[in-house]
């Protein structure tokens, strides 16, 4: 603790020493830096926002740095924050991953800023630690559920399933009557294996509304909760029924999108941000693709598990906090969201309240928006209700989905993984 503090103090001293002349001339121009991840969406949104902002503020330049995504990116962000070498503005996940960054010690609190009034309260909760609010939404909200081939559904006369039983029955029909793989699995990109589990959380909450709080306090175990254990067994059922595509163990995310767009696979459990990539690569074919929430046990309680987008944050070591805040105000404005929609299209509801969506949106997005019209039909994913998320979930899901581990044993393993994370965060009750 001592070393880190003195180190960051040192860095601060060095950077202010060097930065002082630059700041003095900031009337004529300030140079900001911004770190984003390397997903095509983030890079193009970052570029578009920066270009638009620079046009309006010719005396400010913002240089963009790109980092890898996933856990490699987590490393970079954590290390740069801890060593005081973070860019002025940076993009990172909201929710549980943010909590591990210790925002109150590394980021600038935005709760008093006027532009925060425009950011929807539901988003603010996922970028809050203690009394501080630290981020603004960088993209639109997302849903986690199942993409499906509408053309195939029409051809076979299938209905959008409202229960898991109906979903499996549809799969049976597809397997029997066509050569199409009923469910697309893409385990080469291990993160994609988590969807059947994560997107089931709306259904868990229907059976156990207090799951998230109890879980955070260490009172709920996945292996001991019927509702949560069911989430683990979904992928096992699909595997045991033989519904995955033949190469599900070696196919990757890009393969999955291709199979879905070309009709080689009927269902793909995925987050709706995939719509943007599909529009880029397959254009018109997206209109044949639909989306539904992962069905649970009861048709009466059918709803969507919602993901919050990542956020932009300001580093405490920045020399240009005021300029950075001005850029944030621009991103969290109607103009900002228009730039985003123009760049990557409308992929979901915006979390800046003055922002609307265009009249026509791609078919899967339209299907998703239905769930947002009724607040009872959507609920946040667990990682936005609890700071605890175990890092080994994707490996465990691959094991269950490939048939070399049972759901029960996977849940027990994940419980241990989760408790390690909770202890690392210093939560009580673990």
């Amino acid at each position: 603790m001592k070393t880190t503090t003195s180190l960051s103090a040192l860095c601060l001293a060095i950077s202010t020493g060097v930065g002082a002349p630059a700041f003095a001339s900031s009337h004529s121009g300030a140079e900001l830096s911004m770190l984003t991840d390397n997903s095509p969406n983030s890079v193009s949104v970052a570029n578009a926002l920066v270009t638009a902002y620079e046009e309006r503020n010719p005396n400010v330049t913002i240089s963009i740095e790109v980092r890898p995504g996933g856990s490699e990116g987590d490393n970079i962000v954590r290390t740069r924050l801890a060593t005081g070498s973070m860019t002025d503005i940076f993009f990172y996940n909201s929710g549980s991953l943010l909590q591990a960054l210790n925002p109150s010690r590394t980021m600038v609190d935005l709760s008093e800023e006027p532009f925060m009034d425009r950011v929807s309260p539901s988003f603010q909760t996922v970028v809050t630690q203690g009394d501080g609010v630290y981020g603004i939404p960088f993209e639109a909200g997302m849903g986690g559920g199942i993409f499906y081939n509408r053309a195939l559904y029409d051809e076979l006369g299938l209905e959008v399933p409202l229960t898991w039983g109906e979903f499996m029955a549809n799969n049976a029909v597809i397997k029997e009557q066509t050569d199409v793989a009923p469910v697309i699995g893409t385990f080469a990109d291990t993160w994609t294996s988590q969807l059947f589990f994560l997107a089931d959380f709306y259904n868990v909450l229907q059976q156990d509304p207090e799951f998230a709080e109890q879980f955070t306090q260490g009172n709920r175990k996945f292996a001991e909760s019927d509702a949560a254990l069911t989430s683990f067994s979904r992928i096992q059922e699909v595997h045991e029924a033989g519904y995955f595509n033949e190469d599900y163990e070696s196919a990757g995310y890009e393969d999955g999108l291709r199979m879905l767009a070309n009709g080689e696979g009927a269902h793909y459990p995925m987050l709706t941000f995939a719509v943007t990539a599909m529009l880029d690569n397959f254009g018109e074919k997206v209109e044949d693709i639909g989306f539904f929430a992962q069905p649970g046990g009861s048709a009466n309680a059918n709803g969507l598990t919602v993901w919050m987008p990542g956020a932009l944050y300001i580093s405490q070591t920045s020399d240009h906090v005021e300029e950075a805040k001005d850029f944030m105000a621009f991103v969290a404005s109607t103009e900002g969201c228009e730039v985003i929609v123009d760049t990557i299209g409308a992929s979901g509801p915006f979390l800046v309240e003055t922002c609307g969506l265009p009249d026509t949106v791609p078919q899967p997005v339209a299907d998703m928006l239905v769930y947002f019209q009724d607040s009872d039909r959507n609920a946040p994913a667990l990682e936005f209700l609890s700071p605890v998320k175990g890092p080994s979930l994707e490996q465990i899901m691959v094991e269950i989905g490939s048939g070399f581990r049972e759901a029960q044993s996977g849940a027990e393993l994940y419980d241990r993984d989760v408790s390690r994370q909770a202890r690392q965060l210093g939560l009580s009750g673990w």
């Binding site: 490393n75 070696s250 890092p391 490996q395």
Partner: protein, 299 residues
């Protein structure tokens, strides 16, 4: 006693002359760099391995991290795989390296070309090799299984079968490292005086007898070197495993180094450091006796 004296004197004189050759403070810059970049982090890591560490805060927790490492099934799996990988690749490199060295020191056509070809993989980046082989080993579209199909064989699911994955990676590691092993072995074989072979031939020894009675015993230093180097390389391997499987499918091909890296990625810095200390101890425990044995033999 008397015979020893000049020897001792000579050694003393030598060390005195070495001391006086440069003043002590000449060693200071190197010493400071070595201390700051190597000694301090090494000893700091022993301390941090006994803490709960978030990069921002740390709390001393004694040996809990080590307890966690040995209790967790998939962390332990990494330890087992590390030994499997280390010993398989070392055995593979020694036997194959020896066979290739014997072949490449005999009178065959294209000897120079073949030597270069065997050595070539050593020059290629490990990550490049890993990515290439993970494509070649793809069960459906990979070239290896397609080639096997041509001769009527159904190839295994190299990197996807959890029981096979670590051995598939080991196979690639052997391919990658056998060039260096062969090179050392060739040097070892070249050091064997040809008189032995001539004498053996006069006595009517067969080629097989010559190999078992002359080549093998006399190239023992080379074999020991290759064994040590391959074992250490195998035990601390990371890049190839990460490029090919990332420890997967599931945890089935995790080795110590990839487990450590994943704990670091997850932000479990204390646990990850404890893993590093374990890796250090494991490698030291395996390497030190071999090195000691090797040195004794050479004296």
């Amino acid at each position: 006693m008397n015979r020893l004296k000049p020897d001792v004197l000579k050694r003393k004189a030598k060390s005195v002359s070495m001391q006086s050759y440069y003043p002590m403070w000449f060693f200071l810059p190197a010493g400071v760099i070595y201390g700051l970049m190597f000694l301090v982090p090494t000893f700091a890591s022993f301390y941090f391995s006994m803490t709960h560490w978030t990069l921002f805060d740390q709390r001393f927790i004694g040996l809990d991290n080590y307890r966690e490492f040995f209790n967790e099934p998939f962390l332990l799996k990494g330890l087992i795989n590390t030994f499997l990988f280390g010993f398989t690749t070392a055995a593979g490199k020694v036997t194959l390296g020896m066979a290739l060295a014997v072949l490449l020191t005999s009178n065959i056509y294209f000897r120079g070309l073949l030597r270069s070809l065997v050595f070539f993989p050593v020059l290629v980046s490990t990550i490049g090799i890993g990515i290439t082989f993970s494509m070649l080993m793809d069960p459906n579209t990979g070239l290896i299984n397609q080639a096997l199909e041509l001769i009527g064989l159904h190839g295994p699911r190299w990197l996807i079968n959890p029981d096979l994955a670590i051995f598939s990676v080991a196979l690639v590691e052997i391919w990658r490292g056998v060039g260096l092993a062969t090179l050392i072995m060739i040097a070892g074989l070249a050091a064997i005086p040809t008189d032995f072979y001539e004498a053996a031939r006069l006595d009517g020894a067969s080629a097989r007898q010559q190999f078992w009675r002359i080549t093998l015993p006399l190239s023992r230093p080379a074999i020991a070197t290759v064994t040590t180097l391959s074992l250490i390389d195998g035990l601390r391997t990371f890049d190839l495993v990460w490029a090919m499987t990332r420890g997967g499918p599931g945890f089935s091909s995790d080795v110590l180094a990839s487990v450590i890296y994943k704990q670091y990625q997850a932000g479990f810095y204390g646990l990850s450091t404890a893993g590093n200390v374990i890796l250090f101890v494991v490698i030291a425990a395996v390497a030190l006796p071999i090195v000691a044995y090797l040195n004794r033999e050479e004296r």
